[in-house]
């Protein structure tokens, strides 16, 4: 029983430490701060596995097709 309780407490403590480390990094390290701001502003889910799970990825394809088919080519 003692092992089970200790294991559970260690797991929960690990989660809290991980969350705090990421939060600290997002506030103190410039590049992480900028990246987390972009993710928040554009409501991106970085864990999306496939393009169908990301609205931005689906929209990106349409914009690419539109740009290639509609706009005249720029100077070489």
């Amino acid at each position: 029983m003692k092992v089970k309780v200790t294991g559970l407490l260690l797991f929960l403590a690990g989660l809290i430490v991980l969350q705090q480390v990421i939060a600290f990094g997002n506030q103190r390290i410039e590049v992480l701060e900028m990246q987390s701001a972009v993710i928040k502003d554009r409501d991106i889910d970085p864990s999306a596995l496939f393009y169908t799970e990301s609205r931005l990825a689906l929209a990106a394809e349409k914009q690419m097709r539109h740009k290639i088919s509609a706009a005249p080519a720029g100077p070489r």
Partner: protein, 473 residues
């Protein structure tokens, strides 16, 4: 009567979900939505996505299905996990639980297993799935891309190694059935019409570099690192070169890799994806690389789509669009990859040396779920081509596929929870013997970074500068 196996049951269950999605999201609202869309298309400034968002393009049934699958996941939270739960969540979770329990209980019966015992154990696995989604929706974890698949494995391992898995749960521990059904649903998302989204440059960056990196990394693992398990080697190679977790799942199922090998590949992918999502755009920014080149580099090298979008968005809209499109084209490669690996493994690797096998034996050994995966891919690819582009976007991409991809997410989550529950730390630790999987990933990714950058430069700045000019315009 032929015996139902996990493969054939997975095909049946996958197509039951697909049939439900097609009936509810495509057939039922088709006439009404098609007529409204045709009328709206002629108006100035028409945008299909804006139209889709503004108009409830579904009906009571589709709204109910979408809300249930979406709502069964706890919401986002910062410090208080209880804030992630609501009454809607409780209702949706109960409905989804019964749907999946009945569906997979029936699958168990088909495979001559006890359906009632399955449902009892399924309660436990479904609860771990909800906890996995809860942790994935914690704001800091979400921002780093630590998704449900990671948490499902971690929670499963915690239970199995600290508390022990209760006996009543065992009948529901069917990771292969969940994974293979999820892969049949994933097949529906592999749309071959997407291949030409940005013409030849996209194909060269995604479909030429990726197989070269995959084969070279596999060869490196066998000949130089001498990794004893070919299945571990190919799962890591595919996971690193194609598109991360989804490629790892498809490859592991196609070559029958062990659950510990899949867990190792997924763990490596998630760690490196989190690092590369931040490091790669920062480096591109620091050296002043153009957005199109940077976007193509990101799209071809970072594993998960979500992380690709986040890294591309860091650089700007053009980079985001190029990166996401390159990754999407790479995603489509999964279909060919799963089929090729299944054939290669059946005909060559599993074959006793020097022995010739006839076609019937190859067919007997072939993982049949791959046929369901390809069937779903062909069905949806044809469907998209047959429909008007805007109708396909509204009814298929934003409708049926939105539903099947959410269902597929749940099935992968349940699969990883089952994997965690049936694995142990000692077996997992043995996978890392000598650090070879890590070395394989790092060396393969280094080659991937070099080749992708070279090919992106060659395609976008030497061979097709006109396309680059248009993308920048």
């Amino acid at each position: 009567m032929a015996k139902w196996t996990e493969d054939t049951a997975a095909i049946l269950l996958g197509f039951v979900i697909i049939a439900l999605a097609l009936a509810a999201f495509l057939v039922a609202p088709f006439d009404e939505v098609n007529a409204s869309l045709i009328a709206a298309e002629s108006r100035a400034g028409f945008s299909v996505d804006a139209w889709s968002e503004a108009n409830d393009s579904g009906n009571v049934v589709t709204t109910f299905l979408s809300d249930t699958v979406n709502g069964a996941r706890p919401g986002r939270w910062g410090l208080n996990p209880l804030s992630a739960f609501s009454i809607d969540f409780v209702f949706s979770a109960i409905v989804l639980f019964f749907f999946l329990a009945i569906l997979f209980g029936a699958g168990s019966l088909l495979m001559r297993r006890r359906g009632d015992e399955f449902i009892r154990g399924f309660v436990f696995i479904f609860a771990i799935g909800i906890l996995a989604y809860l942790l994935a929706n914690q704001l800091e974890f979400r921002g780093m891309g630590l998704g449900y698949e990671l948490w499902a494995i971690v929670l499963g391992l915690l239970v199995s190694n600290v508390f022990g898995v209760p006996r009543f749960v065992r009948p529901a521990l069917q990771p292969e059935l969940y994974i293979k059904t999820g892969l049949v649903l994933l097949g529906a998302e592999v749309l071959f019409g997407k291949l030409l989204a940005i013409g030849l440059p996209g194909i060269f960056v995604s479909w030429v570099v990726t197989p070269v990196v995959l084969v070279t990394t596999f060869w490196f693992g066998q000949k130089i690192l001498k990794i004893s398990s070919k299945t571990l080697n190919i799962t890591i190679s595919a996971d690193m070169s194609v598109c991360g977790v989804s490629a790892a799942i498809a490859t592991a199922a196609a070559c029958r890799a062990s659950k510990e090998e899949l867990t190792t590949a997924v763990g490596l992918s998630m760690i490196f994806t989190a690092v590369m999502m931040v490091a790669l755009p920062a480096f591109i920014n620091a050296v002043g690389m153009p957005e199109v080149l940077g976007g193509a580099w990101i799209g071809g090298t970072i594993d998960a789509t979500g992380a690709v979008v986040a890294a591309g968005a860091f650089l700007g809209d053009t980079a985001l669009n190029v990166a996401a499109t390159i990754k999407m084209i790479q995603n489509i490669l999964i279909g060919v990859l799963a089929f090729a690996i299944a054939v290669y493994w059946t005909a060559k690797v599993d074959n006793t040396q020097g022995r010739t096998v006839d076609a019937s034996e190859i067919w007997h050994r072939f993982p049949k779920f791959v046929l369901g995966f390809l069937g779903a891919s062909i069905l949806f690819s044809l469907l998209i081509e047959m429909l008007n582009t805007n109708t396909a976007t509204v009814l298929v991409e934003n409708g049926a596929l939105d539903f099947t991809s959410d269902m597929r997410g749940w099935l992968f989550c349940l699969a990883f929870a089952s994997i965690g529950l049936s694995a142990n730390f000692r077996e997992l630790k043995s996978q890392f013997h000598g650090g070879k999987p890590l070395i394989l990933y790092v060396c393969g990714q280094t080659l991937n970074l070099c080749l992708t950058l070279f090919m992106a430069w060659l395609m976008f700045y030497v061979a097709f500068p006109d396309i680059t000019a248009r993308l920048q315009g």
